[in-house]
Amino acid sequence: MIILEAKNLSKIYGQKSKGVTYQALTDLYLTIHQGEFVGIMGPSGSGKTTLLQILGTIDRPTSGEIWIEGQNVANMSDDELADFRRKRLGFIFQEFYLLDALTLKENILVPLVLEKRPIAEMEQRVNELAKYLGIDQVLSHRPYEVSGGQRQRAAAARALVHSPALILADEPTGNLDSKSAKSLMESLVQLNKKEQSTILTVTHDPFTASYCDRVIFIKDGKVFTEIRRGESRQAFFQQIMQVTTALGGESYELAKSRF
């Protein structure tokens, strides 16, 4: 089943009348099936973040269509989009973006609470996810009392708690040390299998990308190429490295040492 379909997507920043414009995306096509774990890579300024924001309905495309679960999100009003994000999308950010005033548990609950779901259901769902992500011991702590890895796990739990159709992650390992990054990605892969959730992550880190089923490379606002993972993650990592080098990005020699 197709979860997300982007057709002919373009985004132009700035106003034509002022003469200063910048084309971030050009006629981009993208299809994602249910249960897929997809990575998006590309050099700085290639339009990764713009794409993620547009797919996440936080920004609107200049032209083109986005179909998520058969609904065209380009036609929705701001309130409808907010409702749609709340019900059908989950977000994981590089900076975690947990609310400092809330405990981890309350942070995870936010999407369900905004939805006004039954309390018993909320409790059950949080406990289940927290146990799975290994943060059940720190649920009553506040974000600044726990480690970065635990924070990002809580953020992941928040993204998953309402069983969204699509989870969008923006550099989820960007602020984590390599050990936390590895265990977070492993958890995400497991959740992806267990809950049959669809995850789309933007990253510039080949190591993080190597956990995906499929990596799409974009350059200058267009899809450059895409590669699929075979049996071995090690081999996939090498493949990703080759493409990034070909793309003219920085060399990722150092990343090898992680294996």
Binding site: I58, D79, A82, D83, L89, F91, L99, E106, P111, M122
Partner: protein
Amino acid sequence: MNLRSLAFKNVKHHMRSYLAYFLSCTFSVWMFYLYASLLFHPILQSKEIPKQFMALMFLVEGMVGLFSILFIGYSQSAFLRNRKHDLGLLQCLGMSVKHVTRIIFWENMMVGCLAIGVGVCLGLVFSKLFYLLVSVVLDLTEPISFAISFQALGLTIVGFLLIFSLLSWWSRFTIRKQSIADLFREAVKEKPAPAFSTWKVVLSLLCLGGAYFLAWTADLKSLVQQFVFIFLLVLIGTQLLFTQLSVAIIDYLQKKKPVFYHGTNLILLSQLRFRLKDNARILFMVSILCSVVLTSVSVCFTYYIEAEKVATDQTPFHLSIEGNIQGMSPQEMEQHFKHQGLQVIQEEHVPLILAQMQKEKQMVSLMSQSDYQRLTGNPATYALSLHLGEMAFIDSSGMAKDKVETLSNKRVNVKIGDRTNSFQLVKHVVHRIWNEHAKTKFFAVVTDQQFNQLKKWAPDSQQLTIHAYRFSDWKKSKGLVLDLDRLAKEKKGDAYHVQSTYELYQAVKEIFSPLMFVSLFIGVLFFLGAGSILYFRIFTELPSDVKQWVVLHKIGMRKKEGIFLLKAQIFLLFSIPFVVGICHASAAMHMFSALFKKPIWDIYGMSVLAYMVIYGLYYGWTKRMYMHDVLKYVNSPQSE
């Protein structure tokens, strides 16, 4: 670019948070100049302005000055705290402490000079109006003329320049004390979740409950004794209310899952828990200020407006003379009335006997029952039917609440001449029946028969007549009263022997008209100060509110919900201290209304309404500015 232009850019960038501070400074300068110009006005030489009024003006000037120092000092240190990160960065880049303090100095001086300039201009423009107001309040025949006083101008400008420069010079000590690392850390330091202790919550409730109970049951006598105690209880209770009880209430709501886990409540309550505690000191100050201002303004206003009623309540007879003014018989007195154009509608000449109470070693005045009955008039509530050998004790001081008490088994021995009589004390009546003289405040009533008998035994020195009159229009009695006062002073050396409605009316007006005038201005000043501190506190939360908005927006919060979250917080921060202030002030007003025979809620309600409008405008303005800024940052591309 030099330091001054950097400072200028800083001011421009932080304009929003400086704005409320600037307005309050301007208002302080404005008020200070108005009062200063009055203090240096040539009319002071004239005798028309009462001495007490000038003393009050000095007091106000001092208070405005003191308020300015405290307010500016507080605001500057708050700005500094808010910008530690900035300043740390500048130092990190190699700026010396001297340079940083110089930047701060320039920033403060820019805002300060502008405030002085605008404040003085406003002062000049409005001084004519101010003088007119003073003339009306003081009942001056000729309004005070407009004059620009260079002394007042100099005092205001130099004084405030000194305040601004000294206080900003002071900031160097705060900055020097801290290392760069500290300055950096200050911004990221996280606070633990506010907690409360149960016994402090209980203590808070006890203090407030106790204070309210005492205030509610107080009469004038207990009020004077307990005032300080009640005030202390309220202070402690309010302080704990904001630091403990607020957290306890939110904690309770957070434990109630159906409430807490319901839409935006989750975020609102969690944030309030931090913000109420963070701002506890400010909220405490604002609510105390609120209650003090509301109470004093309404009390002064009430007395001013109801001076007539107070005067007629406290002096039922328009003129009352204890004993005889030498050389003036009742007939001559009547001549005097006619001469002054006064028409007597009631006159009473009540004989009293002074008796020595044996146990209490006190003098008591005795009155006959029929005289008493005539003085109290019709109401049966205070009527007495004494038998031989019985006595009733009357408290006519007006200090306590009216009541009639039946007593038993109390004997009183009084000595008249060299005979001692024993009476059974049967009743105790508290009721104002006539004007207050030394010998009429408290007295005893006995049967007519016994009174006449005692009168025969009493030597002349122990007998006394009170002459009391009611006129058709007591306001015309000014001349008469002044004459009699003069006479009484000449002959007996004590003006207490003449008690008139007019004098009391005049005294009440003289005390309360300037007080009203002053409390009104000080009240507005305090309110604006309180509002601008709240305004600033709210603006310090801007970055974290923007961050929160961005996160919640991405998660799928509707714009409407986001606006509600911010508005609710601003509303609560503004309204909680005001509501607490109103509650305190209401209790205080109830206490003070013991002075009047009726509650004085109408004037209180009006002043609450007036301040609510001022405060509400401030709230609306803050909300608008804040929402505008949050939405501006949220919609700017950098926040994505």
